[in-house]
């Protein structure tokens, strides 16, 4: 039976996996991927609630916004990573402790 709970469980799994990736990996690109997972978990939540609770298109519109913002955010994030790599020649997150070089 595909009810609201199974969507929420999938969403929860995605969120926790994303969070663990953000907190544990030292690779900046991996952290960006983790952020994507968390955002997708949120989008999935919106759609699920929209379908089963409010029964209108609000959640869908929200998830479209989330996808657009996630795309922009990862573009900026990757640009920062490239600049960071050019300066430090590494993408290890613990090297990024200073706001200046």
């Amino acid at each position: 039976m595909m009810g609201l709970a199974s969507y929420l469980i999938i969403s929860l799994i995605l969120f926790v996996v994303g969070l663990v990736i953000i907190l544990s990996r030292k690779n900046i690109v991996a952290i960006l991927l983790g952020i994507e997972l968390v955002l997708n978990a949120a989008a999935l939540n919106f759609v699920a609630y929209s379908r089963y609770v409010t029964n209108n298109l609000d959640g869908h519109v929200f998830s479209l916004f989330i996808i657009a913002i996630a795309a922009a955010e990862s573009a900026i994030g990757l640009a920062i990573v490239i600049r960071f790599f050019q300066i430090k020649e590494t993408i290890h997150i613990d090297e990024a402790t200073q706001l200046r070089n």
Partner: protein
């Protein structure tokens, strides 16, 4: 006729402009600007004469007045009205006074150009003379007591400067200080009275005061326990006493002759001393309301008689005139006190004319023979015929001989005094007023003719110096013939003009002043018709004219006196018949008394059949020579004993109490306070405040440095932990 600011203001402004020009550029002008001063007074005279003509010859109704005001400054806010108005107030009295002041001052200026010629203080003299005159003119025109007070003080300053104009003479400096300080005592009271009026009425304009009296606003008001009307009337009269040199404050006037003689003429005749009488007349309704007229009359009587006795033994020609001024001012004040409003004001005018002439004549003598001690003069009649003629006319006037102006005005005052003292049902003790008044009139005739006989008659004593007589003036006239006087436009013409106006009919319309021999017919009793005590009811809700407005009135004929009393008695309980009787008795008595005075003077100094006073009553003469020891009393007792003792007490209080306890005590307290604050500064501020802050910041840093690692995942862990704990807390 139209009256605007443009043709009223020049009366006051022309002399002021002359003063400013002479003060700053006088030395560069030819003759140091004396012509400018004289011209400016002449301009005032022209404008005054126009006003006088309109008011007296009937363009205006007899009770008309011009009152123009403007707001000087306005500090009102909301419902609190606090406005100070200034303005001009011209009624019949003002018109007469303006003509008298400007006319007499013009003649004095003209005379001064001769008298002060080649004098080292020529320029300075002609700087202060127009300022003095302008202050008097402004005072006469002003519509409120505050403006009057300002001009009053300007006159005080000018008299100070004129009396002490010979700055190198120590006596002149002392005399000027004395005049200034003595009048200042009166001025303090005047200011007090003005402030009290302002406090209660919110205005010190004459019309507002009159209206307040009519509306009964004074009823029930008190100041420090006495009624407001009495308090203010007394204060204003004390101010008048200082300025008009009445009995306890008279000491400055005789010394005021230290200045040049024309300056004395201006002080003693047209300006300054008449200011006190003027303010008493203006505030006459207040004096009546305050019920102090009996006090005024007594003060006037004491002054009139006392000054006349002192004048009998003076040897300096100017001193005689100075004491005669005091005495005549006493008569004016008697006039105010006994309710003889009309005659008191007439005496101001007649006295101004003959006293100016007397002083100018004395100046003419002094400047010609360089001597002012009468025992060293004598027989000048042959050398100075014009001066003799003018001075004789004025002496006849002041002595109260019929047909002359002094008789007219003084006799009316004395007649009213007689009524006041004996017939009006007052306190019988007040009979002292007419008694002293008549006695003083006899003495006046005596001492004035003594002066005339000693100066102009007998043999010439010039050059014969007595045992201890030193020649102060070098020897250029020692034993020389005196030059015969030729008619000089600046020396004699002013005297002769003034002498013409010593005749009584100019003022009274009839030769005797009693309406017996009329010269010009019915209309000529202009003085009696035009001058009367203010009728206060007329001033209730009287509209004001704006400063810039034009004043137009239709011509009205001078009607027969609205003022039908034979005498002009304006005091309480007038009784026509009794007043008439009093005046007939008074007129006869004063003629007899005056004739007696002249006769005694004649027997004593021409026939020499009576021994002079000095040999007859040596003790009393000594008292008189010392002016009743008033100067000694003021200096030795009041100042040296009273004031100095008080000063010593104050100095002891200052050194002993204030220095020892207040100042030293404050130092000790300060020292303790200083120690406490030093401890506070070192311990609390420095150690705890300043250093403590540093330590606290350091400690806080240690903690912050650990958290602020810059590792973004650590921050994120913190974020998650905080959020999780938040959700956990909320759920529980």
């Amino acid at each position: 006729m139209e009256y605007t600011v443009g043709n009223i203001a020049p009366i006051f402004l022309a002399p002021v402009i002359a003063f400013v020009i002479n003060a700053f550029f006088g030395r560069k002008l030819p003759r140091q600007g004396d012509w400018l001063a004289t011209l400016s007074i002449f301009i005032s005279f022209i404008f005054s004469a126009r006003i006088f003509g309109d008011f007296v010859f009937g363009t205006f109704a007899t009770d008309h007045f011009i009152h123009k005001t403007f707001t000087w400054f306005d500090l009102s806010h909301g419902a609190n009205i606090w406005k100070v108005n200034m303005g001009v107030y011209i009624d019949n009295m003002t018109a007469i006074m303006l003509l008298m002041v400007s006319g007499v001052a013009f003649l004095i200026h003209l005379f001064s150009t001769w008298y002060m010629d080649h004098d080292e203080k020529h320029g300075r003299f002609f700087t202060f003379l127009p300022l003095f005159t302008s202050a008097m003119l402004g005072m006469v025109m002003s519509d409120n007591l505050f403006a009057l007070f300002c001009f009053w003080e300007v006159m005080g300053f000018c008299s100070y400067s004129l009396i002490g104009i010979y700055v190198k003479k120590e006596a002149a400096g002392d005399a000027s200080l004395k005049a200034f300080m003595t009048t200042r005592i009166g001025d303090v009271f005047l200011l007090l009275g003005i402030v009290a009026l302002w406090m209660v009425l919110g205005s010190v304009a004459y019309v507002d005061i009159y209206a307040a009296i009519a509306e009964g606003k004074f009823a029930g008001q008190t100041v420090i326990g006495i009624s407001l009307a009495t308090f203010t009337a007394l204060c204003i009269f004390l101010g008048a006493m200082g300025k008009s040199a009445q009995f306890p404050l008279h000491v400055w006037l005789p010394d005021a002759m230290m200045g040049p003689t024309p300056g004395s003429a201006l002080i003693h005749a047209a300006t300054m001393v008449t200011a006190g009488v003027w303010v008493s007349l203006r505030m006459y309704p207040l004096m009546v309301l305050g019920d102090i007229t009996w006090f005024i009359a007594v003060i006037g009587a004491i002054t009139a008689f006392g000054a006349a006795t002192v004048a009998m033994v003076q040897t300096d020609i100017k001193a005689v005139l100075a004491y005669s001024t005091l005495s005549q001012l006493g008569y004016m004040i008697i006039g105010v006190g006994v309710g003889s409003y009309n005659a008191a004001f007439m005496h101001v005018i007649t006295h101004a004319v003959f006293k100016a002439c007397l002083f100018l004549s004395a100046g003419s003598i002094i400047h010609t023979v360089h001597e002012q001690e009468m025992p060293k003069l004598g027989g000048l009649r042959k050398y100075m015929p014009y001066t003799h003629f003018a001075m004789m006319a004025c002496t006849l006037a002041i002595a109260g001989i019929p047909f002359f102006s002094g008789f007219v005005s003084k006799d009316r005052i004395l007649g009213d005094a007689l009524y006041f003292g004996f017939m009006s049902g007052q306190n019988p003790l007040l009979a002292i007023v007419p008694i002293l008044g008549f006695a003083g009139a006899g003495l006046t005739a005596f001492y004035m003719f003594r002066m005339m006989f000693l100066t102009f008659y007998g043999e010439n004593r010039m050059g014969h110096h007595d045992a201890h007589g030193e020649d102060h003036h070098g020897d250029h006239h020692h034993g020389h013939e005196i030059h015969h006087e030729h008619l000089d436009a600046r020396q004699n013409v002013p005297l002769l003009i003034l002498a013409i106006f010593t005749l009584g009919f100019w003022f009274a319309g009839s030769l005797t002043g009693q309406g017996i021999v009329k010269v010009f017919g019915e209309k000529t009793e202009w003085f009696k018709v035009l001058v009367e005590a203010p009728k206060v009811e007329r001033f209730v809700n009287h509209p004001r004219e704006a400063w810039g407005s034009t004043d137009t009135r239709v011509k009205t004929e001078l009607t027969k006196a609205r003022y039908d009393h034979q005498t002009g008695y304006a005091g309480p309980n007038p009784d026509e018949h009794k007043i008439h009787t009093a005046h007939v008795i008074g007129a006869i008595a004063s003629i007899i008394i005056a004739a007696l005075g002249v006769l005694i003077a004649f027997l004593m100094y021409i026939k020499k059949s009576i021994k002079p006073l000095a040999t007859r009553f040596p003790g009393y003469t000594e008292v008189l020579r010392n002016k009743y020891y008033f100067d000694n009393f003021y200096i030795d007792v009041l100042i040296k004993k009273g004031l100095l003792g008080f000063n010593r007490f104050l100095s002891w209080f200052d050194m002993g109490i204030f220095d020892r306890y207040a100042v030293d005590g404050a130092a000790a307290v300060n020292r303790v306070l200083f120690k406490a604050s030093k401890w506070f500064d070192n311990v609390v501020v420095d150690a705890v405040g300043v250093d403590g802050t540093g330590v606290a910041v350091n400690l806080f840093n240690l903690v912050l440095r650990i958290i602020q690692s810059g590792k973004i995942q650590f921050y994120f862990v913190m974020l998650v932990v905080v959020l999780a704990s938040y959700i956990w807390t909320v759920n529980i």
